[in-house]
Symmetry: C2
Subunit: 258 residues, 2 copies
DNA sequence: CGCTACGTTGATAGGGCTCAAGTAGCGTGG
DNA sequence: CCACGCTACTTGAGCCCTATCAACGTAGCG
């Protein structure tokens, strides 16, 4: 299923000292931060690289948990499956993100992780990670920060789904996506949606028709621009305006006062 | 703000060996599991006890992150605040749950944690926890399991909000609440709601009126029973029936086939 | 060239929100 | 003791937003 090009660091480099508890490092902007994160991980613990293609599973719900995964390139969706047949995209992952934390508690994955396009993930044995962390406290700190970020981001999803009307929810989704791209040093002026309308809708708690209509309205209002006829590539030329659209949707009263 | 009754274990006991990577332990049922968890935490790292009353903050968004918290008794809500004024209850915490993980990444809390009734939390210095974990790998494993559970539970919230109609969402909420109580060895046949309808609605992405109507319907159908006139105490006498109600709401097609 | 997957758009219905009125419990002060 | 205000909960009426159903357009592909 996976093409695996072996690439195991032979002698893990010591973790840079300044990386330990360095809030300034995390607060900086630009793609260097995430590249540095990946380098530090690679230097501290053995990782196996895997090339994945669209639709490939990184891991599957129900399988035993043994490894965590780090996205090097590509985009991934994490899908929660409930036994009554519901399927819910709960998270999207980009370069530098960890996947698989949900499996730690029960020693069993309870989600699928699926590649949305061609990419590369590193798989890291959880046991090896714990051992490496014992030697390198900063590695542990890195993992904790990532889990913490994941918790915070899941909550942002919840707040969006609970409080925003459909159009604003889609706008918020595009904002967050643009922010994730910008964080990784990627341009947002011509980006290809890796997800179908149905997937976006599932992620946002909307139907595909509502997503389609919302995007048409955003386009009509000039907040986004479709680049191709198939409407999968778009230009997020004014992310602040999108963010403002979300803000106004939340507080119609306040927006008229100001 | 807090009454603090000093209680710092003088000589942390060594972590029981069998606690390291013990899936069987986590899988067992009954309240003993959670009591054991608390004992192990208490034995491994210094904790300061705090008595809190309804409405007291355990920590507040914006404040520097230095401590994690463990619920000993009582019930707590975690409230996410976005800068545009939205307020969203993102999680409920019971005995044995950790709070504050969200602050690790940015070294700053981004939620409020508020007591819903009188209770006791233990506050544990994050630095001390890391040091203790270096000595006791099983303590680290415990913390990881808790973070993992939190991620999994946040995702369950999302799936509920995204896929269930109002009545089923309330039923699902009551199911989860009953499960949390049962896990802790508490009865579910006469329980007092610690939250107002507005709080439940906020948590579930519904208005208070919808929550009220949903509970009235569930009561009318015999799935729950109100004990007092104020309608804050209720009897969850048949949790499986509640769970079934949720299941049927999800798959009306399948339910008619069977 | 038909087939399939994906996206858009329209018409309609319904679930949940909003607004509003009414009730009950509870603490306070006359 | 009861009036009063306050908070919480319930219930009804009407409307709006979004889901549903359906038709159609388009791109990619064997």
């Amino acid at each position: 299923m996976f093409e695996t090009t072996a690439c195991v660091p032979q002698s893990p480099r010591p973790w840079p000292l300044h990386a330990a508890f360095a809030p300034g490092d995390e607060g900086s902007i630009g793609s260097g931060r995430i590249a540095a994160r990946l380098e530090r991980i690679q230097g501290a613990v053995a990782a196996q690289r895997r090339i994945v293609r669209q639709g490939d599973f990184v891991y599957q719900a129900g399988k035993a948990f043994t490894h965590l995964f780090v996205v090097n390139t590509g985009m991934f969706k994490v899908v929660n499956l409930s036994r009554d047949g519901r399927e819910q995209i709960v998270s999207l992952k980009y370069r530098g993100d960890w996947m698989g934390f949900d499996g730690i508690a029960e020693h069993c994955h309870n989600c699928d992780a699926v590649a949305l396009d061609t990419g590369e993930v590193w798989s890291i044995s959880y046991d090896a990670l714990l051992q490496a962390s014992a030697r390198e406290p900063a590695l542990m700190a890195e993992v904790h920060r990532s889990m913490s970020r994941e918790i915070a981001r899941d909550r942002d999803s919840l707040i969006s789904v609970c409080t925003l009307p459909a159009d604003a929810r889609v706008a918020d989704f595009l904002c967050n996506w643009a922010a994730a791209l910008a964080d990784r040093g990627l341009r947002t002026d011509q980006v290809t949606l890796r997800m179908t309308r149905a997937e976006i809708g599932n992620y946002l708690g909307l139907t595909l028709e509502t997503v389609s209509r919302a995007m048409s309205r955003l386009s009509r209002e000039g907040l986004i621009r479709f680049v191709d006829k198939a409407r999968r590539e778009l230009c997020l030329h004014d992310v602040p305006a999108l963010a403002d659209f979300v803000r106004v949707a939340v507080e119609p009263a306040l927006s008229t006062l100001q």
